[in-house]
């Protein structure tokens, strides 16, 4: 990895929504022997529902 990339990877504050796109839609998903994962984020249905849905749902947003 080049020096430039190392520098920009370190010490920058990324936007939370960009991060959640990746952490809730991307990443390796493990099923089977794990206790829990947020692969099914529908289990979340409260204040954050709109926020979570906005980065995970395939359905059109209701707004």
């Amino acid at each position: 990895m080049s020096e430039d990339s190392v520098e920009s990877l370190a010490g920058r504050q990324v936007a939370l929504i960009d991060l959640l796109d990746r952490l809730l839609n991307g990443g390796a998903v493990l099923t089977g022997d794990l206790v829990l994962s947020v692969a099914d984020v529908d289990l979340v249905h409260i204040n954050l529902r709109a926020v979570i849905r906005s980065v995970t749902s395939d359905e059109p947003a209701p707004w």
Binding site: M1, S2, D4, S5, V6, S8, L9, A10, V14, A15, L16, I17, D18, L19, L20, D21, R22, L23, L24, N25, G26, G27, A28, V29, L30, G32, D33, L34, V35, L36, S37, V38, A39, V41, L43, V44, I46, N47, L48, A50, V51, I52, R53, S54, V55, T56, S57, D58, A61, W63
Partner: protein
């Protein structure tokens, strides 16, 4: 195992951030890097693979605990940023396969079993991602910005009645709105050709909406591209100036990211072009 394991209250569980090859200098990256709840990081090895792990209390990371964390934006942000910080610190030193947020096992023994069971798949993914970064491309349509740039609505007939002037303004706004979105669509359509030969793979995320999408305008494209590390600058250069002459259309490039969007096994990934 066919049913979900239930941790005993007060127990510690193993939170997995990422998987990498055993023997890579990731241990160096872990020194001084705190995991969730400030706990120290460790690696769990199995064969040629190693998982980056820290202990988390079952009360906060069991089903109910995670629900509570996800309901609280501040706690979710801490969780996401801590997970990300660990992945980034490791990724500076070696190729890693980031796990999805909140991948939790009962103990290190189960993490090791998982590594063993998924070894062929993880090795193939790591080989594919080695030496690559992810870059995000977002395109926004902002009709109000278009008006500001082009100097406002076309001249309305000042002699016209107020009603007629209103209708003229309204039509002009609608036309501006349509044209801005059409222009944004054209800009979006140009991206694949511009990065052809540079990008190795492509994943489309859903356009960003909702409370957390605070950027001006509407996000109409939210894509991730897998690019060789040495090609990251070329990728940015290829998209430079893409919307410079297009009022109300904005292109944002994010990253480099660890390849989160490409860590999902190919069968489950969408829009992978090659």
């Amino acid at each position: 195992m066919t049913e979900e394991a239930v941790p005993a209250a007060g127990q510690e569980m193993s939170y997995v951030y990422a998987v990498c090859r055993a023997g890579t200098p990731v241990e160096t990256a872990l020194a001084g890097q705190p995991g969730l709840e400030g706990a120290p990081l460790r690696t769990v090895r199995a064969g040629e693979l190693a998982a980056l792990v820290s202990s988390v209390p079952s009360v906060s990371y069991g089903t109910e605990g995670v629900k509570a964390q996800m309901e609280d934006l501040d706690r979710l942000e801490v969780l996401a940023r801590t997970h990300h910080a660990v992945v980034e610190a490791a990724y500076e030193h070696a190729a890693v396969l980031p796990m999805r947020l909140v991948t939790v096992y009962l103990d290190d023994g189960r993490v090791g079993e998982m590594l063993g069971a998924r070894a062929p798949e993880f090795s193939a993914l790591l080989a594919r991602l080695e030496g690559h970064v992810e870059l995000g491309v977002k395109i926004y349509a902002d009709p109000r910005e278009a008006v500001a740039v082009t100097g406002g609505a076309p001249e309305t007939d000042t002699a016209a009645s107020p009603g007629r002037a209103y209708l003229q303004r309204r039509r002009s706004q609608q036309r501006n709105h349509r044209e801005t979105y059409r222009a944004a669509g054209s800009v979006a359509a140009e991206v694949p050709a511009r990065v052809d030969g540079i990008a190795r793979a492509h994943v489309a995320h859903r356009p960003q909406q909702g409370d957390l999408a605070q950027a001006a305008g509407e996000n109409i494209l939210n894509d991730a591209y897998l690019v060789q590390d040495a090609q990251a600058d070329a990728f940015r250069a290829a998209l430079a100036g893409l919307a410079d002459d297009v009022p109300g259309v904005r292109v944002e490039i994010t990253g480099p990211w660890a390849p989160y969007s490409f860590a999902t096994p190919p069968a489950a990934a969408e829009g992978d072009t090659r």
